[in-house]
Symmetry: C2
């Protein structure tokens, strides 16, 4: 089962654009996730499925499930069937290592797979697509591999179980069975189809055309091809987009070219406080009087949005939303609470990352059998 | 330096067509090699260069050089310069393992690289593009790999020095430095360019698009890309086409779908005799009287053509051409001599191949440093 924040498919709606490289809502408003589910033909990850997860794992579902961060899926129900039968499955996620430091949005799939790994006690494979970033970002092979290893440290700092987790770099690991599989997949996809799905043009280099068979999370293509090769379709879980600090509504993913658009795991407490206070888009009213009167617009408020991702306590979140939405709590108070939450989270990450040694990276990236993995 | 029978480039002449998949002369006539040299922008492998090879290696140049079988090159003179300076170089050739048995045309690059390896005492790398054949011929991965190993036995039977020769299968060997290089090459070639060079269409699968960076002998592309990656351009030596038995003139390569178009290394003495007598296109005249009067047309005569590839003795070849061309020798006599030559050659190959053990194949295909190889 694969966990990712995106699908590879371009929405053909003229109103909102969602593809691996662009997210924008209609007229700067909210992304219509129901519409996305319709367009992409996936299923809503609904209450009954979340209840089933709770029952099967005997633990409270993750915040990201309870609050609809992961909102859609394909065949997740079949994975739960397999789990109930005692059949094997494994988790897959990945990262394209294009930058040194991760921001909070990057951590979301890893925080969630860590929960899934613990809850279902299953193997996890994390693919670092350094080859992708070398080709798309015009990084050298060496720099892409260096970033992959640095990013692996941040991923390991999320607390994965080394006995159940395999992290690999494409540059190191492509070959053998992997390469054979790439060729099998490539034979199933015409150039026209790849150009249609991924929007490649004739001026793109052939490395880009060669890449889809390398990366598993080019999901729709994989689900199309897998049965033709005699494999099960991978199940998928999809999350909502984690918005940029400045976003009004949910327009735009965070941008690596604008460091103030996101909180990074390398930000200091002062950075975090400053970014939240200066840049986090507020749904509060212009004057205290007006705010007390009509309250904050929670739909567009970034501090509340961020708290709904990262504040564990359901009751406290509900309290904040009620008080803030009805004008009794001010933006400054909400931003202060968010600053505390994120500072604590980033500080814990920093300490965990500092404890990650080169030997630990080697251990996670060692090619070895994982228990309960497929042959 | 690379040895191959073809270049990847499609000739745009309306008169003759030469590309990796098709060879046809104008109106069933001869391939115009001078024109090919002009069109492809390579150099003639002329007398002075062959004399230089003789002087540098202190041995008689190979039949294939003396008789113009290898007729063109790119930068072969620079390789000889390097050899004179004592600089390293290595030989490269390859084979796409699409069939169980090789025919005589398949042996030509291997017979020639064996000579070059012995004469210059240099390492040789032989690439078996099982991935290519899996993608182009729709063979399974397993069948392509089986054919690669079987073909390796025929190649080893040509007598290569295991201490200087590395044979590899793409399916086994792609990965690591090889894969990094593939990505670097792929970044240098746009889709439009690849479609232009190789004639791919939108209905081709993306495996084909991904393949050119895998195979070194996609020569013109490699020579374009190598300097941009800081490497020397590979030098090339190109041979004439080895004609089909039935060919009048030099139309057509041998066809795997027509077993009577070629002599295979698995053919029995009886097969060889029968194929030559029944199918080898003769330049002799229809009646003995007419033949005695005007002699054979050597330009279209396949037995003479084949003898010029495989009969070592220059004096005997000249004798046959003179006697046959002037009508004193009959087609039957020339065919009889060709049958003797090819039967002996195929029998020697069969015995050599029978002596190739699985352990020898493993030794040639072992990943290991070769002496005097680049790092």
């Amino acid at each position: 089962m694969e966990v990712d924040k995106k699908e590879e498919i371009a929405s053909d709606s003229s109103e909102q654009v969602v593809n691996p490289w662009e997210v924008s809502a209609k007229d700067g408003g909210k992304i219509d996730y129901d519409k996305l589910i319709d367009q992409f033909g996936c299923q809503r990850l609904d209450e009954s499925l979340i209840d089933r997860v709770e029952r099967l794992t005997s633990r409270q579902p993750h915040v990201f499930l309870r609050r609809g961060v992961f909102f859609a899926h394909r065949d997740f129900d079949l994975v739960l069937d397999a789990y109930e039968r005692g059949d094997k499955f494994y988790l897959y996620t990945g990262r394209g290592p294009s930058s040194e430091a991760l921001h909070l949005g990057h951590l979301i799939p890893f925080m969630f797979t860590k929960y899934l790994q613990e809850a279902f006690k299953v193997p996890l494979v994390i693919q670092l697509t350094d080859d992708e970033k070398c080709m798309w970002k015009n990084l050298s092979v060496e720099e892409s591999q260096r970033l992959a290893r640095e990013n692996a440290k941040d991923i390991i700092a999320c607390g994965f179980d080394v006995t159940k987790t395999f992290i690999f770099s494409d540059f190191d690991y492509v070959g053998g069975a992997f390469y054979k599989n790439m060729v099998k997949v490539a034979k199933c996809v015409t150039l026209n189809k790849a150009m249609g799905i991924f929007g490649f043009s004739g001026e793109d280099h052939i490395g880009k055309l060669s890449f889809p068979p390398v990366q598993d999370p080019y999901f729709r293509m994989t689900r199309d091809v897998a049965p033709r090769l005699g494999y099960s379709k991978p199940a998928l879980i999809e999350s909502t987009f984690f918005p940029a600090l400045q976003a009004s509504g949910e327009n735009g993913k965070m941008s690596a070219s604008d460091p103030n658009s996101a909180i990074y795991v390398t930000d200091t407490a002062k950075d975090i406080k400053n970014k939240i206070n200066r840049y986090a888009f507020s749904g509060g009213q212009d004057s205290i009087e007006k705010h007390r009167e009509i309250g904050a617009n929670l739909e567009v408020d970034i501090p509340v949005k961020y708290l709904s991702f990262f504040l564990e306590d359901d009751a406290e979140l509900e309290h904040i939303k009620k008080e803030y939405g009805e004008g009794r709590m001010l933006t400054g108070e909400v931003k202060k609470r968010l600053t505390e939450v994120l500072t604590g989270m980033v500080e814990r990450h920093r300490m965990a990352r500092a404890a990650v040694t080169e030997e630990m990276v080697d251990a996670f990236m060692a090619v070895r059998p994982l228990p309960n993995m497929f042959e």
